[in-house]
């Protein structure tokens, strides 16, 4: 079993359009990799493939064995409100990952008085902290963060990324930060990959690459 998170020769199509054509990517343990690309280029699809939420049409994803029942690569999405059951209190949401929420309370990611609240009683930034906390509580080896701070204010952005980077600096996990925001990736990642460079068969893409101009 490998200890890196790796996708090799991944192909994926929604309906009949190929979104990913022969894409390969690798994240080493403890490494913080930025994945950059314009909207609609397949970043989120790749993030879902790497965390086992989608299956590639062709190609393989290899993920190290997890520490428990949970997958070793955890996906955190931008839409925190959709990522949690609206009928569950925060305490129960966190308990799904680990019985004891102490680690995320100690790191200041989640505050104890949220535990008895419902998701709609928290703000967007607070809920995103809960969403991230749940992923961290199951002690993943990789955190795939898909635009997790894109809809948050600058201060919350900094707070959330500081906590993620602290954990990565301790060697707890590797991070794949997915974003269209180059300055953010510059600030957090040690290596930045552009989506278009991951695609081996560029010749297969139809016509001139329009998305290149958009960026």
């Amino acid at each position: 079993m490998t200890d890196t998170l790796r996708g090799a020769g991944l192909w994926f199509a929604y309906h009949r359009d190929w979104v990913l054509r022969d894409v390969s990517i690798q994240v080493s343990p403890g490494e913080i990799v930025g994945l950059w690309g314009p909207s609609g280029c397949g970043k989120s699809t790749l993030a879902r493939l790497l965390t086992g939420r989608l299956r590639p049409a062709r190609g393989t994803v290899s993920m190290p064995a997890g520490r428990g029942r949970a997958r070793s690569a955890q996906l955190v999405l931008q839409q925190a409100d959709q990522s949690v059951n609206p009928r569950w209190k925060i305490g129960r949401i966190l308990a799904e990952a680990a019985p004891d929420p102490a680690p995320v309370l100690d790191s200041g990611l989640v505050f104890p008085d949220w535990l008895g609240s419902f998701p709609h009683e928290l703000s967007g930034g607070e809920l995103q902290r809960v969403n991230l906390a749940r992923a961290l509580l199951c002690r993943p080896l990789f955190v795939v963060a898909d635009e997790i701070t894109a809809s948050l204010d600058a201060i919350t952005q900094v707070q959330i990324w500081r906590i993620i980077l602290d954990g990565a600096a301790r060697g707890d996990y590797g991070v794949l930060a997915v974003s269209h925001d180059m300055p953010l990736l510059d600030a957090v990642a040690s290596r930045i990959l552009a989506m278009e460079d991951l695609t081996a068969r560029r010749g297969v893409l139809p016509g001139p690459d329009v998305r290149h101009d958009e960026a």
């Binding site: 959709q82 949690v84 009928r87 799904e96």
Partner: protein, 284 residues
Amino acid sequence: MSAPAVARRSLALPDRRTRIVAFLVLAVLLLIGVVVAGTVAQDAARTTHLDAVSQGPSAAHWFGTDRLGRDMLARTLVGLRLSLVVGTTAALASAVIAVVLATVSVTVGRWAETAVNWLVDFFLALPHLVLLILLAFALGGGTQAVIIAVAITHWPTLTRVLQAQARQVVASEYVASSRALGTSGFALARGHLLPHLLPHFVVGTALMFPHAILHEAALSFLGLGIDPSQPAIGILLSDSMKVLSAGMWWLAVLPGVCLLVMVKLVDSIGENLRSVIDPRSYHL
């Protein structure tokens, strides 16, 4: 809060939700009243008064008497109670079948979904009443047979509704997150799916109830249902047919109207319950 504010508040009309809840409480109390009255009237429904045979409505017998001088009000109340018992049991059993099938169809796998869809289509394609009659006949008649027959024939539409709801939950991001955390299929169904289906289950049961009552009456009317010695509404109506041409209208009209009113009452309980629990109305 200051005193004038309290006064103004108590003068204002209660909002829609409060009115609906008040109606629901009253309607349920009325149904409980029918059950209690039906239980109390058991003896009166069987006592014959040969000095007062086939009489029209009067102060002594509000609903008149039948050809054995039995009080029709008492018989109607006992019949309504029986209908309620049969209706509740059959509707609940049917709704439980629907929840189980809907849950299985979205959690077990593609083949389970195909199987459930096929089963729903099969039961929807068969004529309702024919199937009911065949089932009641095959099960040998009687109260139990009516309950089973109604339960077996009424789950398909609710299954469809619950399936749609269940699919939505299963496709949600929070279920995907939960799976990634290693939650088992059973825990997913119990923690995420069933609590979401519960309100639809309650409303579905309430709306299935009137169907169950009417079909019980229909089966009993046709002689395939409840034991003829019991004063079920269907049997009262069936008996009244024989003497309707003699002008004894009260034997048919009064129990029939009572059944109709009760069905309408239960139906509006279901509708109102739906508007309280699930404001985005759906078709059943």
